[in-house]
Symmetry: C2
Subunit: 316 residues, 2 copies
């Protein structure tokens, strides 16, 4: 295959920044550009300008992948397929992303949540190679979870949104939470902005012995407790800015999880395998943009192991 025939474009549309990427995988990134996520029309125009410029410089890509913050509409039969829907991000509710970029570029478009994209990238190139059932969690501006069951993201009435489950509160924790929809859902309790609201300083700057971490670790362990009982992943990857800045959280979450499950689930992952069960992802800050490339790859090859909505529309 010629180098151009393998060329894929990707957009990671994040809550604070967007990353445009051109290439075919982690060892073949030909271009990468970061933009701040601002007002929606301006942001989408900047993304289009980057993609247009790359098309002139490198020729057309085979497919475009878009890994977006959510919630997004992934229902293939919906008139708002490819839109960002009821987001907590101001000004972005009801924004067409995938239909618009697909029309402009005229190539197949793979579209999914940022965390489903990152999970698929980890499965293809990162720490989840060989795993069929696992989950990728990001704890940053928000909390998102991509859950892979039998090699593909779960999809029912729509994609999943574990960041907005309501969890049991730690006794004594009276913080009201900051989620504009739910107050003290797990994103409202333990995302980066929630930690800052709780502690009065950015999550990355808090010392490991700050009392806020007890509450944050408890909340994140409750998220993991729920994941163990609802989808039983073989491994759970915890990434995002908060986790990478505060590595002590891993062991705290493991211990809180063990206390919370209290021996109910018998599995090696929860006993001697616990240190290998809750771990950092493998692709670091590249998980997002590579997630977009993984979605592009699936859109370009609809028979691939991880078909995107483009490929499975007929079976839904």
């Amino acid at each position: 295959m010629s180098p151009q025939a393998k060329l894929l474009a990707g957009v990671e549309l994040g809550g604070t920044k967007c990353v445009c990427i051109l290439g075919s995988g982690p060892d073949d990134v030909r271009a990468l550009e970061r933009l701040p996520t601002g007002e929606r029309e301006e942001t989408l125009r900047q993304i289009e300008a980057v993609l247009d410029r790359w098309r002139h410089q490198h020729g057309p890509a085979r497919a475009l992948g878009i890994a977006s913050f959510g919630p997004v509409d992934l229902r293939a039969d919906s008139s708002t397929y490819g839109f960002i829907t009821s987001t907590t991000k101001a000004g972005w509710r009801g924004t067409d992303v995938a239909q618009r970029l697909g029309r402009r570029l005229g190539i197949p478009v793979g579209f999914d949540t940022d965390v489903n994209g990152a999970a698929l990238a980890e499965a293809r190139w990162g720490a989840a190679v060989g795993l069929d059932d696992f989950a990728y969690v990001t704890v940053g501006t928000g909390i998102g979870v991509g859950t892979i069951v039998r090699g593909r993201p779960i999809f029912g009435m729509n994609h999943t949104e574990l960041g907005h489950i309501r969890v049991a509160r730690r006794p004594g924790d009276t913080f009201a939470g900051i989620c504009s929809f739910h107050g003290d859902c797990i994103e409202g309790l333990a995302s980066g902005p929630a930690i800052e609201a709780r502690a009065g300083a950015p999550a990355s700057k808090l010392p490991p012995d700050h009392p806020a971490w007890e509450f944050v670790a408890h909340g994140l362990a409750q998220l993991v407790h729920t994941m163990v009982l609802t989808t039983a992943p073989q491994r759970i990857f915890l990434g995002g800015g908060v986790m990478s800045a505060q590595a002590h959280l891993f062991e705290r979450i493991r211990q809180e999880l063990k206390r919370s499950l209290n021996g109910y689930v018998e599995a090696p992952q929860l006993e001697q395998g616990l240190p290998q069960f809750i771990v950092p992802p493998g692709l670091g800050t590249m998980a997002g943009p590579l997630g977009a490339l993984a979605l592009a790859l699936d859109a370009a090859n609809p028979v691939a192991a991880h078909p995107t909505p483009v490929a499975t529309a007929a079976t839904r």
Copy 2:
């Protein structure tokens, strides 16, 4: 195929009673016997006696399905595959069920949780025909959930166990819960025995205006909130003794769910489709025994759409 070639045996092993069934489906039940679930050795001997008698009367079955209360070990590579493991039921921890009955009968054995079995039966013969992604919940002696993703039960490190998630408590609810592992997990808060402990009278006898129902409906709505965000089922079936005795709970749970999600997930199932989203199952009290037959059918036909562990051992 001769009538005998279609013959399947099933055992629903429940927390309070066991049902042995012989036949090939809901329209062909040739024998059915109920036994109380007592001391484990005595109970298993009584089940064996029924299966032995049927073999003499009707000839050998093609396969046996066992739908058991749990947790059970479904890991194909485990030495305790087919065992009941860390159950809350006294005296049953570490009980070999599937290996023992398989050796005795010398036929293929399909083994899964009672709720996964019931969900597969609903998909094959009941209210879930045509649905690929749905969940079956029972609220009775315990709370159990069978979650079907792309036609098959979720399976990762082991089966799922949603009855033991810890949920956000309703303000003012100080009931400590009765789960021996977790106290106030959802089973500890809203199962039949929990309702009885809370209200001082059996759940089936409480009037619809008893104040306990506010707390129970809130807890069950939190379970459903979590299900919507973790596996996004196309439909959720709520069955079991508590739901069938207290039909007012359906609308209460729908309204509590709507309040709790607060418009975050945009899907027809949560808007005009809500009355069809949270509904009773179709097979009633036969869901359990027919679940065992559905597992037997999959064990007899390993290429079927819903392979059991017997059929998928090689791929795990």
